[in-house]
């Protein structure tokens, strides 16, 4: 759709911008910076802070540039293009005036404010404000509001920009924050000061331009200039949100989102935001050996000797299970070692998902996350994206809100923050959908770009492969796969899953998968950060746990080799859409813990099967050589190769059970050992489960 362009003059410079642009966008196009508080690119326009005033030539008053469009500008009397000034004395005076008014009721408590140093109001007061205030009266004070374990409030600082209100209403889809009262007495609050029940609520902290909403767990911890910032990738779910990890010394103090239009835009989920709390707790900081039923602190020499002894045994009696947060490098090292030892029982699907082995499109989110916005009909199968991938759910909500995309659900009828048609509950409903003539199948067939999203919950069942096949079959039947669109999607819940599948971290010939390992008597089981398993089913096997946190796996382990958490080593992660992303080390591993790949490199030497790399670069070179797919950093394949993709062939043909789908995630806040160690997330979880408790009583 071509847009009408219009010539306008910004500060004497003529530019051509689309008619639909706001003056603020046009000014930015011309390279001008317009100060703003309430305006935010991803939220609706409120126009209430007035900081973005500009001068319209010929108009008597300054205009709020965020709320006025280029098409509404008036040209000069002799047909000159309309002109605005952003640098004129009038604009300077207007900004000073607005700033003076904003500061009338804003406390001057910057020295004790957590926003200090990264505060929009502070920065803009410096850049655009007057030196002093002419206001001798008392300042307004506002009672603080309770907003739950995540958001700390200091409402006297609030400048009523309503960004938080618009965020929870528009993006998060849980309209719980509002502005009550009016005029001087306007206050931001949740309804009766209840906690905000959203997986994305932490984002209001970033949105708040002042220190009114700050992070409760981070309160009074650090100043932004003391922190070392590391740009990395989140591993709490399979979205691969781009994040920035801030640390001071050895402690990670907070996690903030980075902008990536293709993945998380600029939001992150609360789990991502507060996982850092878990990084300092329940840590395995030295090797342990179980003796007489108790874990005894040990050292690396002893631990590696024991491990080598055990792994040197009968290879058919050894099993390796990878967890949910392993980088591709460590999986590669483990797989190389397992191959060298002849261990065939390796599996990266600790949840038992019946997936992998086939073409790459079989297990990817092929439409890509950004592609959700192009979809006109979405069918969710056995997934609750709100808890499995909150960021993806926000995208679905965005397209539902803006593009009138129709959403259907086969599975649990839960609150997804958008309206959907509940098509069915069980796998039978999925298999039978193709034959139906009316209802959602028609919507899918009529859609130009339909999407079918299969969740992990649907794949971990006994008939997972058949469910996958039924979904692929449906995708093919509704024309979801064309040359430039692949509407067949698998939504993973684990950050390391796609990487593991790409690597072929799957049972080899004669090897067992996770369920097989649990049912056969193995001599030795290596758990690579795998905690979401029934530990009692490993029988008498000698369990070697390699990981960072003392959780389920460590409790069962006979030998613990302390590894690094994901913030403590460089690593490659592949998100659910197959996007390869680089995570970087922020801090060093705790205590005696080592980077995970290095543990296996050391182990390989003891076993006489030395792995052919001495450092991460060499490991990566080997990795890229063996699997070129990992070399395409930040590339999501999307619809590439869709023309050759046979969706009917995914999974295994066969009958599906008449069993209702359940989500793979029962508790959003507790999906991995790091999250389980976080106090804030535990508090959020307790708050969420409270109503259920009350109802049960």
């Amino acid at each position: 759709m071509s847009e009408d362009l219009r010539k306008i003059i910004v500060d004497g410079e003529e530019i051509e911008v689309p008619n639909s642009y706001t003056l603020l966008q046009a000014a930015e196009e011309a390279g001008r910076e317009i100060p703003r508080f309430c305006y935010h690119e991803r939220l609706s326009v409120a126009g209430n802070c007035r900081m973005c005033l500009v001068e319209l030539v010929g108009a008597p008053k300054p205009a709020a540039s965020c709320a006025m469009q280029v098409k509404d500008m008036r040209g000069g009397p002799n047909g000159e293009p309309p002109a605005m000034n952003t640098l004129s004395p009038m604009v300077k005076k207007a900004r000073e005036g607005v700033m003076e008014f904003l500061l009338i009721n804003h406390p001057l408590d910057c020295p004790i404010c957590d926003q200090g140093g990264e505060c929009d109001l502070q920065d803009q007061a410096l850049a655009y404000g007057r030196t002093g205030s002419r206001f001798p009266e008392n300042k307004r004070a506002v009672e603080d509001k309770e907003m739950g374990p995540i958001i700390k409030t200091e409402m006297t600082r609030c400048i009523q920009c309503t960004r938080c209100v618009r965020f929870v209403t528009e993006v998060a889809g849980s309209p719980e924050i509002g502005m009550i009262g009016r005029g001087e007495d306007a206050e931001i609050t949740t309804y009766l000061e209840s906690a905000v029940e959203s997986e994305l609520s932490g984002n209001v902290i970033d949105l708040c331009p002042v220190g009114a909403l700050t992070s409760k767990p981070y309160a009074f911890n650090a100043r932004p200039w003391e922190l070392k910032k590391t740009e990395t990738i989140d591993v709490m779910d399979a979205v691969g949100s781009n994040i920035r990890v801030d640390n001071r010394g050895p402690a990670v103090l907070r996690i903030l989102p980075r902008v990536h239009e293709g993945v998380n835009e600029e939001w992150i989920s609360d789990k991502t935001r507060y996982a850092w709390e878990g990084l300092g707790k329940q840590r395995l900081d030295r090797p342990y050996v179980r003796e007489n039923g108790k874990l005894r602190p040990s050292d690396w020499t002893e631990a590696l000797t024991i491990a080598a002894e055990k792994l040197g045994g009968d290879a058919s009696k050894i099993g390796v299970v990878a967890g949910d947060m392993n980088s591709v490098e460590e999986l590669k090292a483990v797989k190389d070692l397992a191959d060298a030892l002849g261990v065939a029982s390796i599996d990266c699907r600790q949840d038992g998902a019946k997936i992998g082995g086939g073409a790459r499109q079989d297990y990817l989110f092929n439409s890509t996350i950004a592609g959700i916005e192009d979809a006109d009909a979405i069918l969710l199968v056995g997934t609750n994206p709100r808890v499995e991938a909150a960021i993806i759910n926000a995208r679905i909500r965005k397209t539902w809100l803006n593009n009138d995309t129709k959403v259907g659900v086969i599975g649990e009828a839960v609150d997804l923050t958008y309206e959907y048609e509940h098509v069915g509950e069980s796998a039978k409903d999925l298999a039978g959908l193709k034959k139906k003539r009316s209802g959602f199948i028609k919507t899918l067939k009529d859609a130009k770009r339909p999407m079918i999203i299969v969740g992990s919950g649907a794949l971990t069942r006994g008939d997972g492969a058949q469910v996958l096949n039924a979904a692929g079959d449906l995708a093919a039947a509704v024309g979801a796969i064309s040359e430039d669109w692949n509407g067949f999607n698998v939504l993973h819940t684990a950050a390391s899953r796609v990487g593991g599948l790409d690597l072929g971290f799957l049972p080899g010939e004669g090897g067992h998968d996770v369920a097989g390992m649990q049912s056969t008597a193995l001599d030795t089981v290596v758990l690579l950060g795998a905690d979401e398993l029934d530990m009692s089913s490993f029988g008498d096997a000698f369990v070697i746990y390699v990981g960072s946190h003392g959780d389920n796996g460590a409790h069962r382990a006979d030998l613990i080799l302390p590894g690094a958490a994901w913030t403590e080593q460089d690593g490659i992660f592949v998100n659910t859409e197959g996007r390869v992303q680089l995570a970087s080390r922020s801090v060093f591993p705790k205590g005696e813990a080592k980077e995970n790949w290095a543990i296996f490199r050391a182990l390989s030497e003891r076993l006489g099967k030395t792995l052919p790399y001495d450092n991460l670069e060499q490991l990566r070179m080997k990795l890229f050589e063996d699997h070129p797919v990992f070399a395409g950093i930040d590339h999501a394949s999307g619809a590439e190769g869709a023309a050759d993709f046979d969706a009917k062939a995914v999974g295994q043909a066969g009958d599906v059970a008449d069993e209702a789908f359940t989500s793979a995630v029962s508790n959003f806040y507790f999906t991995n050992p790091i999250a389980r160690a976080s106090e804030t997330l535990a508090a959020c979880s307790a708050l969420r489960s409270e109503p259920a408790k009350v109802a049960a009583e």
């Binding site: 924050i177 509002g178 009262g181 007495d185």
Partner: protein, 221 residues
């Protein structure tokens, strides 16, 4: 105006009565189904007319009827000062304190309120009265004035002075019928002592043309 909060003590539940339901039906009928949130102010008003104030359960009831988040209704209820967020006495005396009324002696009325009723927003000891100072109600020609809200509806009582106001409160306390409108010899806002517009038939509605209001079944005078 001051910070408006919900009352500390709230009833356990709220339900619209039959009469209110009829009014709700009328108001909801004015808006298309998907825009029914437009009826939030009438709904709050109906709830207030029924209970004399808007309680927290009422806010929730209205929100669920209009498919609105609670906070949205809460915002509206706290924005408009016409919604009482706490119980009021049998008669709510809204005294205009804006400039024209003030110049014509509204502070006298306020003083009487303070003496006889007590603090603003609080119910008098006998439960009969609550008073509040409000902004201009547009009857400046008949200043000073009050609006009296009670079971009979909302009525202006104008052209007051201290003596008349005292008597008015006496009558209300005693349960006597009071006359609404100007308390002077005037019928409306015509100049004092004029003889025009004195024909009583001008005011009883008999000269008015019957009109049909939009969306109503009955013709109203």
């Amino acid at each position: 105006m001051s910070v408006r909060r919900l009352a500390k003590e709230q009833p356990d539940s709220f339900a619209f009565k039959k009469k209110s339901e009829d009014e709700i039906k009328f108001w909801l009928g004015k808006y298309p189904e998907e825009k029914k949130a437009s009826a939030v102010i009438p709904m709050l008003w109906i709830a207030q007319k029924q209970e004399s104030w808007v309680s927290e359960p009422a806010i929730r009831e209205i929100a669920s009827r209009l498919d609105m988040p609670y906070i949205r209704v809460y915002e509206v209820a706290t924005f408009y000062t016409m919604f009482n967020l706490a119980p009021v006495g049998e008669h709510l005396v809204q005294v205009c304190g804006t400039t024209p009324c003030m110049l014509r002696g509204s502070d006298e009325l306020i003083k009487i309120c303070k003496n006889r009723i007590g603090k603003q927003h609080e119910i008098s000891e006998d439960g009969k009265f609550t008073w509040v100072e409000v902004e201009c109600m547009g009857a400046c020609a008949n200043a000073p004035m009050i609006q009296l809200a009670n079971g009979e509806g909302d009525h202006y009582i104008e052209d007051l002075d201290a003596e008349k106001f005292e008597k008015l409160l006496d009558d209300l306390a005693a349960g006597n019928k009071v006359e609404y409108g100007p308390q002077s010899e005037r019928n409306a806002s015509e100049p004092h002592g004029t003889s025009v517009l004195s024909d009583p038939s001008l005011y009883d509605g008999s000269k008015a043309k019957k009109i049909k209001l939009p969306n109503t079944e009955k013709a109203e005078g």
